[in-house]
Symmetry: C2
Subunit: 344 residues, 2 copies
């Protein structure tokens, strides 16, 4: 019996990652390369280059290839498989689905990078039972969420899950979106790094040493390291980071009442220190009255470490999720018959 | 041609409202009566009494009756049409769907009161185009939301849309759910009334006069009236109320990216003063940078008064929405074949 495989492509702001995945979610091969942002043609060529190399290296018979899924940042017209545009990228109305389908002779689907990662976690996150409701929160350069409800991707009009751009902190800093107090402005990787810079400039020898003596060079990683080394200022920043992520989890949890919230993105690579800070905040923020424990999105019997969990797919979540869209088609795609097909 | 009609029942903490609605959403007749909370049998008898009276008064041939919808507070097992229990009500596992279906000989469906109101606004809110994505926020004794996404009710595991119980305000008051700083603890009707009481006790002659000289008797209505009369303290409370509701709208908007957010519940009856305060806060909270204007759940070209709108169905939203579940069945009910049918 020959298993079906899918090609999953994760397109980022600077690089393309591609994987071949079998129907159990196992990654058979990986490739990556730079993305060419300057034009539609250059972008397609850079995406094809990585995919071609993956097939060449792996050498697998293409008759097993069931289809191609792709996830990308910025605006996506998922019905037409078109990337409408993204910050830092000069693409405009790039018909990625059709182009991939034509080149490799199989069906292709395209969706937002965070939606795709959420779908990957849902299908291949290693759950003991099938998961119908899942929120995936990505924390890295930005903060966003992919929402799965009743086995469907929640998309809204143009894009749901913009959890990083709710102006929650009335006296918070200004966000690059123009609002004041968005969670992205205080809890993204660059935001935590900027807070670390302030701390170092104010006189944290640990942080300053980690950043090679340059207070302006402090990153989020340095803050995690300094906290581990006992720097109380960095520990306080980490505690705040846990609180802000707890707000993301609680907004997701109360609004969508999912089975689980999965946290990924670059910052999740910090691992236990980040998650301990998150769980500690969530334990403080559990309703302690029976009335409160009965409302939706509350589960007083479970510890937060059971429902707010790190990604298992890690940096592969986007690419594996894109492949998952082919191997376990999402209801919205199926119902609307949305898939790019080769013209021959 | 004889039109189909549906019976819609809205069960509250103290009263039952029932309406007969035709397929255009027109309310043909209304009845209401007290709800008996002490047992399942008493509750059913009180619900039947109102429904019977509606049919008696209206005298319409029951052959037109397409079915019955009911909305209720508290826990609902919508798959089985069972009310599992609610605060202040002694019901337990009340099989309402089956009971209604048996009594009137037609199919019946049951759902959460806020979901049902959201469905009513979606079907019969008088929109110029069909609405696929809608959030209904109810502000009254409590604060909650009903979420419609891609023409479906978002339910999550046990109950989605618990927007009133996200602990957003780190230094806010304690909520009855046990958490600190939930929006319900600062912006529900009773919360606004309590803030008004503090203001009156601190020396607001306008508020004190409106409450008959008793600072402890100040209600949310008094706060609205005092603000209209130029009381600056009450005007400040109203401004804060607008801000808190704006947070509810923005959480809904960024997370779900709906076509529209509808605001109902008892406090919406305050009308223009409340909505002007809300819109004013939302105008302040619009991203003013082009990057921010492109993210989902943002529509810089529209004024907030176009996308955060008062309920058109008013106090009928729940009952009309329950009837709408029959007249325009929701996809989740249809797919799962969830409907109580009479046994003969």
């Amino acid at each position: 019996v020959i298993d079906r495989v899918a090609l999953g492509i994760d397109i980022g702001g600077t690089k393309v990652a591609a994987v071949l995945v079998d129907s159990a979610g196992t990654v058979l091969a990986r490739e990556r390369g730079p993305v060419a942002p300057e034009s539609n043609e250059a972008a397609l060529a850079s995406i094809f280059a990585v995919s071609d190399r993956l097939f060449d290296t792996y050498g697998r018979d293409r008759t097993q290839l069931a289809g191609i899924g792709a996830g990308a940042p910025g605006g996506i017209d998922w019905r037409r498989g078109v990337l409408t545009g993204a910050t830092n990228l000069a693409w405009q109305d790039l018909p990625l689905g059709q182009a991939l389908s034509e080149r490799y002779g199989v069906p292709a689907v395209v969706d937002n990078d965070v939606n795709v990662a959420a779908w990957g976690e849902r299908c291949f996150g290693g759950w003991p039972v099938p998961i119908q409701h899942l929120v995936f929160i990505t924390v890295g350069t930005g903060i966003g969420a992919g929402l799965i409800e009743s086995g469907r991707i929640v998309r809204g009009r143009r894009g749901a899950g913009e959890i990083g751009h709710i102006p929650l902190l009335e006296n918070g800093p200004r966000c690059k979106c123009g609002l004041v107090g968005c969670l992205e402005a205080v809890a993204s990787g660059p935001a935590l790094g900027a807070l670390g810079c302030q701390l170092a400039a104010g006189g944290s020898p640990t942080l300053l040493a980690l950043a090679g003596g340059n207070a302006k060079a402090v990153t989020a990683e340095h803050v995690f390291a300094a906290a581990q080394q006992g720097d109380t200022g960095a520990q306080w920043l980490l505690e705040r980071q846990g609180y802000y992520l707890a707000l993301c989890v609680l907004i997701s949890w109360r609004m969508l009442d999912p089975d689980v919230v999965v946290i990924g993105g670059g910052m999740a690579e910090a691992g236990p220190p980040l998650f301990e800070a998150l769980w500690s905040a969530l334990r403080r923020l559990r309703p302690d009255r029976s009335w409160g424990q009965q409302i939706g999105g509350t589960d007083a019997r479970r510890d937060p470490s059971e429902y707010a969990v790190p990604t298992r797919l890690g940096a592969d979540a986007g690419a594996v999720g894109a492949a998952a869209l082919v191997l376990q088609p999402e209801a919205g795609f199926v119902e609307e018959g949305i898939i790019s097909l080769p013209s021959r």
